[in-house]
């Protein structure tokens, strides 16, 4: 088995004194999409931010075997980590073209790829990003990460709040990209997870409670219900629908493991 592109071990993170990630360990293989799943508020976004050093954290983070947890965020990104944040975070006052130009790190950015995947952005390059629809802003956010030749992408809830048609377009774009770069994907929509993911890492209460193949996990209705609060991929998880999230029970089956090594 080849070396994982991203290996996280004993990761702890705090926001405003509150422990949001607790002893999280997992790996992201050097190909395919690894979905980071869990109910709302279990620490998925915080885990991604902690990997990038955007929040205070301790633990061991390795990119292709090299420790990066002592580097500042911009250095980690420069080593080939693309980031698509939750809620897009485009620069509203800049035009689409300026948003993309800002993200270009490589001497030869992959503009053709971005233009092929998101032709709408070419038409709107002079438009301020703040005036785009949510779906178009998501395209900008994805395009920023795809412009550079990254070694791994961290993609946080790319379909959140989007219309079904746009969700399909975003998923197709990620599917096309996943052939060339491994992706760690936080996603609530289990249809999208089934379409894209090869592996899953499930968090509960800031800890890893399950790792394994995506198809096996999604096919296990009981496990999905127990860990995510929904039945299989027939619906989005309860968290995305605003329903109260019941406590995930302790893991008992053989495919489930505690996060602690």
């Amino acid at each position: 088995m080849s070396e994982p592109i991203l290996a996280v071990s004993g990761l702890h993170a705090r926001i405003a004194g509150q422990q949001v990630v607790e002893d999280v360990s997992f790996t992201v293989p050097s190909s395919g999409v690894t979905a980071l799943l869990g109910r709302n508020g279990v620490g998925k976004t915080s885990t991604i931010k902690a990997v990038l050093g955007l929040i205070d954290r301790t633990g061991d983070v390795r990119l292709a075997g090299d420790r990066v947890d002592r580097l500042p965020t911009h250095r980690i990104v420069q080593r080939g980590v693309g980031y698509v944040p939750e809620d897009r975070e485009v620069f509203a006052g800049l035009t689409v073209a300026e948003n993309l130009r800002l993200a270009e790190r490589d001497a030869e950015p992959r503009r053709e790829l971005v233009e092929r995947l998101f032709p709408d952005l070419v038409q709107r390059k002079a438009q301020r990003a703040g005036t785009l629809s949510g779906g178009q802003q998501q395209m900008v956010s994805l395009a920023r990460a795809l412009l550079n030749d990254n070694r791994v992408l961290l993609v946080d809830e790319p379909t959140k709040g989007l219309a079904p048609k746009i969700v399909g377009e975003v998923a197709e774009a990620l599917e096309a990209v996943a052939d060339t770069v491994p992706i760690l994907l936080v996603e609530q929509n289990l249809h999208v997870v089934r379409q894209l993911a090869t592996d899953v890492v499930v968090l509960s209460g800031g800890r890893v409670v399950h790792t394994g193949g995506a198809a096996e996990f999604l096919d296990d209705d009981d496990l999905v219900h127990r860990l995510l609060g929904v039945h299989g991929d027939h619906a989005e998880s309860d968290a995305s629908e605003g329903a109260p999230a019941p406590e995930a029970s302790a893991t008992t089956d053989t495919t489930t493991e505690e996060g602690r090594a």
């Binding site: 990038l52 955007l54 500042p72 965020t73 911009h74 990104v77 420069q78 980031y83 944040p85 975070e89 620069f91 509203a92 006052g93 800049l94 300026e98 130009r101 800002l102 993200a103 790190r105 920023r144 550079n148």
Partner: protein, 292 residues
Amino acid sequence: MSTVILLLVTGLGLGALYFLVASGLSLIYGLMHVLNFAHGVFLTIGAFLGWEVGRRVSDGTWGGLLLSMLVGVVVGAIVAALTEYLLIRRLYERHIEQVLVTVGLALAGVALMEGIWGTDPIYTAKPAWLTETTEILGARIPNDRFLLIGIAVLVLLGIVLFLRGTRYGLIIRAGVENRHMVTALGIDVRRSFTLVFAIGGAAAGLGGVLASVYYGYVSAHLGSSLLIFAFIVTVIGGLGSLAGAAIASVLVAVLQQFANFYLGGTGDLAVVLALAAVLLIRPSGLMGKAAA
């Protein structure tokens, strides 16, 4: 009518001075969230060293004044960049410490300059044309107002061109919106912090030399007296907004002039009341981002 014209143009000249100080303050706050109480020191040291070099080379001439302005720009930029690099850089996100350090630096800077140049104002010479007046619609306008307005417009255009036409400008504009996301794109945003301090310091240093032309003297307290109004301008315009700083500079200075003339010298009070009104009606300022 002639009085109104005179007050308007004088207000614009004073507004030009406010803008030269407030532009740097606003950019620094917008990008780094630092309230820089030491900004007046950049102005005063620029004014003193500009005056010192200018008078030694060619006192009271255009050549001497241009040299003074150049020295003011360079000195302001260097002192500001050193301040960021040596003091502020360690204190990002630590707002109380920032206030303590910048207030301390402001007090120490004034004391240092009083120690070197004394506590009394030093009257300065300027080119003959700047001491004369030009008649516009019956009003006799002191010519130095035109110089101030012209240079402030050039500085505004220069900063806008820099922000819109260069990669560093792009980084600064993005950083003012969302500094953490700029970092998450692999950009070392801290490099641009020093640059923004230098730009703000350069504008303040230039403002110091022009303030000595406007008031006719240099003094260790030149910066601190202008800084108060520059802070008011920055808040009224909207913290982080260059356009807001430009508009508010003119509004505040013109209001100040008219209130001083027509309301018995109540210009400063009128400015403070305008600040209170803006804070009550639109707390984010005229062009600032509304609080989430």
